[in-house]
């Protein structure tokens, strides 16, 4: 028997049964203008040897740096047990757990993941995960627009301080779904001023409002006031959160008087390597009344005929294999392997471990921020409280400083010139610095020295 599932003989047999001559005939209903001849940027296939060499070379590019880079992906410690367990064949090679009787281990793991995420975010329910935080936000927007029976126009307000990649991804995914995304401008401190929100009121009441905590610039938003304002307008509140920050910050379920309605984010801080930016997993949690609008799959705990505990996929009737075009999402998968890592991470750390790690990040970031503000010409791009990431305004363009520090083995942070979009900030001189629990006193000393030197050198070269 051949190993590959469909030999040419199998394919020919199947085509003759259904009466087509070419496979392409299966896709006849797709309008011709939507069909792409070939995909740009997708390289030709490689041999195993060439692929391993290529990947080793790429992996090397990530090595040897002390990382102060964040912007959505953070360099946290990953206990060895996380990937030792995750890489076991039972988890690593398991297919999607449709067949409950053969998948109890995977199903129980996802059930525990959902329980932990719901508890961490203060929400009632979680799904089994989505691709990443950005696509999770797009799903949350579609979900909120579907669920908001009062404000039906599909107008969605998004804070300008939400990660620009999240907003772009969301715009891309929802652009043909009659959703109108309007941006709420930041104040001079890179935050949403609750007092400015009334200016967003139009004849079309918003279906949803998106706010990120901590925001893209690391700053803390007035989430209670913003949540209450949105609810007063009849909008659902979508919270974008960093799960690590929830060790010390209010969970979205406790924001304002009623709590946020949907909480999404990226699970990367929990046991997932930065790996040049991916892959990762996204989480999406919601209040109980929105349970049936949650996209993707959900694992439920049940009992068999003999009263024994078992786990099974539940609420599947809303998925696309049954609901077709009316499914809650056209993506009904989950990030099984990375969720496994995230779940083991949370189990090992526990609430206390996550809290201590978050506090450690916060203290170290505050300490480095104070030291960097002593450097001549450096000021705050945005003032105010932050979690573990902060935005500085340098006296010189950030690009040169980042480049010079890289030569000394330090990833200085994110050059905000690449991210500011239409924001009215001094983006060219903006540097976003993240500090995790992994950064030692020595590494921070080295940062300060290299930073001081790079700024002086750049300023000198410019005069």
């Amino acid at each position: 028997m051949p190993f590959i599932p469909h030999t040419q003989a199998d394919v020919d047999d199947m085509m003759s049964v259904i009466g087509i001559e070419q496979l392409d005939a299966l896709f006849d209903e797709i309008p011709a203008e939507l069909i792409s001849d070939r995909l740009d940027h997708v390289p030709e296939g490689m041999s195993e040897m060439a692929m391993l060499q290529y990947m080793a070379q790429r992996a090397e590019q990530d090595q040897g740096y002390t990382c102060f880079l964040g912007g959505g992906s953070y360099d946290h410690h990953i206990p060895s047990a996380v990937w030792d367990l995750t890489a076991r064949g039972e988890f690593m090679t398991a297919y999607t757990p449709y067949q409950a009787e053969a998948s109890q281990g995977t199903l129980q793991l996802i059930y525990e993941y959902q329980s932990m995420m719901a508890s961490l975010t203060g929400m009632d329910v979680s799904n089994a995960s989505v691709y990443d935080g950005a696509s999770g936000l797009a799903e949350a927007v579609l979900m909120a627009v579907r669920a908001n029976k009062k404000n039906k126009a599909g107008r969605v307000l998004v804070a300008e301080s939400v990660h620009p990649h999240y907003t772009q991804t969301t715009r891309n995914i929802v652009r043909n779904q009659n959703v109108d995304i309007a941006s709420i401008a930041c104040d001079a401190n890179g935050r949403i001023d609750p007092a400015s929100l009334d200016a967003m009121i139009t004849d079309t009441p918003p279906s949803a409002l998106i706010i990120q905590q901590p925001n893209f610039f690391g700053g803390l938003e007035a989430v209670d006031a913003i949540t209450d304002w949105a609810h007063a307008q009849g909008a659902l509140v979508i919270a974008v959160v960093n799960p690590m920050s929830l060790g010390i910050l209010q969970p979205p379920g406790a924001w304002g008087e009623q709590g946020a309605d949907i909480a999404v984010g990226d699970g990367q801080p929990f046991g997932v390597p930065m790996a040049s930016g991916g892959p990762s997993f996204g989480f999406i949690c919601a209040r109980g009344t929105l349970m049936r609008q949650l996209p993707g799959r959900i694992i439920g705990r049940t009992e068999d005929l003999e009263g024994r505990v078992g786990y099974a996929l539940t609420l599947q009737a809303r998925e696309q294999h049954i609901r077709r075009g009316k499914a809650t999402s056209n993506i009904c998968t989950n990030q099984g392997l990375l969720v496994t890592a995230g779940t083991i991470y949370m189990s090992l750390m526990g609430p206390q471990g996550i809290r201590e790690t978050a506090l450690d990040c916060h203290r170290k970031a505050n300490a480095l921020r104070q030291r960097l503000l002593q450097v001549e010409g450096v000021s705050e791009l945005f003032a105010g409280p932050t979690f573990h990431e902060f935005a500085l305004k340098l006296p010189v363009p950030a690009a040169g400083v980042v480049e010079q520090m890289m030569q000394q083995g330090i990833l200085a942070g994110l050059n905000l010139a690449d991210f500011a979009g239409g924001m009215q900030v001094a983006a060219e001189q903006g540097l976003l610095v993240a500090v995790t629990e992994k950064r030692t006193e020595t590494e921070m000393d080295q940062y300060v020295a290299a930073f001081t030197q790079a700024i002086a050198a750049t300023a000198g070269a410019n005069t």
């Binding site: 049936r292 009737a317 049954i322 609901r323 009316k326």
Partner: protein, 130 residues
Amino acid sequence: MSDIPAELKYAATHEWAKLEEDGTVTVGISDHAQSALGDVVYIEAPEIGLTVGAQEEAGVVESVKAASDIYAPVGGTICAVNDALTDAPETVNQDPYGDGWFFKLTPTDAADLDDLLDAEAYAEVCADEE
């Protein structure tokens, strides 16, 4: 053979409609439909005040194995929904023509009911599906 009361009108999409004395039309799904769906676990009711045309979507019925749209058999404005189904969706299986009703609407034109199938014609639709 499923139960098809003679006094009701039916849509080919398996809803039944009953013209009440107060001029409203009560809508539910047929015994054949509940049997085909299996255990009903959830009903997404339309909003009261929603105006729908005939054959337009007016809710979703979800069973353990499927989710199906409910279509308004005649055009009108939704004037009542059966809230009891929220906590007891199984009523749809137990009493599809009685307590398992879905919603009531005020028809745009009661004469539209004449366009629906009678019990005999609907029985043929069901027979064709079996």
